[in-house]
């Protein structure tokens, strides 16, 4: 758990060598954080989103899931400068915020723009080229319904992408520093942080061991998961969606589900009514396909394009319908295929598939745990903790808060 490379676990012994060490540590930290800041170096994650692709992404994160717990590469929080920055800047280096505090998204926003284009372009083409004909010749309700679905899909997409998925705040369970003796220090006589004791909780009669997340420094609650791309622990994390540039977790699962369902509906709608347009023109023009095509080339293009789009999106939607009925998240579903420990999610299963669906889709959206619009509290990194404990400054009292629960 304590890797020798992890800079924050080394504490500085004396002032003279402290500065040298600090320089080295800072360089190492910069190197580490530089490596970590390359967004998803795995080329597999740049493929078109399909069920299989998600499977690959989750496999990769699953392989590292057990490792992460032990070799947590620590993401170091920047020292807040005065005035203290908004809390969201300090908690996560990997997340961006627009209109500080109100929206929260992740890195790699090119995929988000691409999916925005894929949603908007065919819809706009449909509205411009096919809807006028539909309005006049079939019924005005059809374009209106299409417009409503389109706005709902777009709003759901933006809501999923810009809502905090349920990020757990960091540093809730910092292990106390162990006393400086021979057995618990490394070669340089620098004490380690003591290993946090294992924690078990009782769920419906079964004892489940909680994992300790080194990066976020807390005991992860059951069903929570650490996202490598966002570098956060997320509650009930379903998966990290690069097309929406955000994790899908407890708080934004419902808009995500609505988004994929309305997308499929839109695609099918476009396919159906483009074909209706073409077929009506075909019959109106003495069964001449050539004339029908020349009058409405865009309809054929739209029909083919949306038919191709239905396949991945429809597959994803049906997979998520299956997951909702079972009441599990994507991570849990994939991990249960590689059985290693008692399944937490089975303990949370309600039994009845409809009750599961009800609960997953209709549970209330909890408040965000990050007070994004409030200012951050002062937080000092580990090398300074040692300073704090040795020389209590008048402003900061080193408080050894003893947990007794």
């Amino acid at each position: 758990m304590q890797s020798a490379n992890s800079p924050s676990s080394l504490l500085l012994p004396s002032p003279s060598s402290r500065q040298q060490l600090q320089l080295q540590l800072q360089q190492q930290r910069r190197r580490n954080s530089h490596c970590e800041s390359i967004p998803s170096p795995d080329p597999r994650s740049y493929f078109v989103a399909s069920m299989h692709q998600q499977h690959m992404i989750n496999e990769e994160s699953f392989e590292n899931y057990n490792l992460n717990h032990n070799n947590g590469q620590q993401e170091h929080l920047p020292l807040p400068s005065s005035p203290p920055p908004r809390a969201i800047r300090v908690t996560t280096k990997r997340n961006y915020q627009l209109f500080p505090g109100r929206f929260l998204t992740s890195r790699a926003y090119w995929a988000f723009f691409l999916s925005l284009v894929v949603l908007i372009a065919p819809s706009v083409l449909f509205i411009v080229f096919v809807c006028p004909w539909l309005w006049l010749h079939i019924h005005p309700a059809i374009p209106i319904l299409f417009a409503y679905l389109f706005v709902l899909a777009l709003a759901s997409m933006l809501k999923t992408s810009w809502t905090d998925p349920g990020i757990l705040p960091r540093n809730l369970d910092i292990p106390p520093l162990s006393p400086n003796n021979d057995t618990t220090s490394d070669d340089m006589g620098v004490p380690y942080e003591s290993i946090p004791p294992p924690k078990d909780v009782l769920i419906k009669g079964e004892m489940i061991r909680l994992k300790y997340c080194d990066t976020c420094r807390l005991y992860r609650p059951p069903r929570a998961s650490h996202c490598r791309q966002c570098n956060n622990c997320v509650e009930n994390e379903d998966h990290h969606c690069i097309w929406l540039n955000n994790c899908v977790g407890k708080r934004n699962y419902r808009p995500f589900f609505i988004f994929i369902v309305t997308s499929v509906t839109l695609c099918l709608y476009v396919v159906a009514f483009s074909l209706v347009h073409l077929i009506r023109l075909y019959y109106d023009n003495n069964r001449s396909f050539g004339i029908a095509l020349s009058k409405a080339p865009v309809s054929l293009l739209l029909a083919i394009l949306c038919f191709i789009l239905v396949i991945p999106v429809g597959g994803l939607t049906s997979y998520h319908c299956f997951l909702v009925i079972r009441g599990v998240t994507t991570h849990e579903q994939l991990r249960s295929a590689v059985a290693m420990r008692p399944f937490e999610h089975q303990l949370f299963d309600m039994g009845n598939p409809f009750v599961n669906m009800f609960h997953v889709l209709c549970r209330p959206q909890p408040k965000s745990y990050l007070a994004r619009r409030k200012h951050a509290e002062e937080w000092y990194e580990l090398p300074y903790r040692q300073q704090q404990q040795q020389q209590p400054l008048p402003q900061q009292q080193a408080e050894p808060s003893s947990k007794a629960s």
């Binding site: 709902l152 009669g205 909890p366 408040k367 808060s401």
Partner: protein, 150 residues
């Protein structure tokens, strides 16, 4: 929270200049506690509803039970999936997420009641003994922290 200094530089404070020395009075919720007792979360029911454990160390006296029961009761009311919650969600979906702008959802109301309850308990009971209950939302409902200042 172990080593986080709980004193933001711009804390709510009153300045009382006395003999050219400025004293800062810091609100009790911003002070650094000597001890903190954590009541862990209770997952035993397994239905996803947040509740806090009823077992607590003998250090705490009987009034804590009433507070914890009150908090558990309010949280259960907030998170139980009732028809009101379903109605809120369906309307939110149908009106393209504009419904919560005009009408407060059931969950928001319950959480507001919870925060008021904790604030009242703090003001009436705990502050005079030098104890303060932390906001459980900031700890992601993982525990309930009773900070002791003495």
């Amino acid at each position: 929270m172990a080593t986080r200094s709980s004193m933001p530089p711009t804390s709510s404070s009153e300045q009382q200049p006395t003999d050219s020395v400025d004293h800062q009075v810091i609100d009790i919720s911003n002070r650094v506690p000597d001890k903190a007792i954590r009541i862990e979360r209770d997952y035993s029911q397994g239905n996803g509803i947040t509740r806090f454990s009823n077992e607590y160390p003998l250090l705490l006296a009987g009034r804590f039970q009433h507070t914890i029961d009150g908090i558990n009761h309010l949280l259960e009311e907030a998170e139980r999936v009732s028809w009101r919650v379903v109605f809120d969600n369906v309307m939110e979906c149908l009106t393209i997420y504009t419904w919560p702008i005009f009408f407060r959802t059931h969950y928001q109301q319950c959480i507001q009641r919870l925060l008021t309850f904790i604030h009242n308990e703090n003001e009436t009971l705990y502050h005079q003994h030098g104890i303060s209950i932390s906001n459980p939302i900031r700890c992601a409902y993982l525990f309930l922290e009773f900070k002791m200042y003495n």
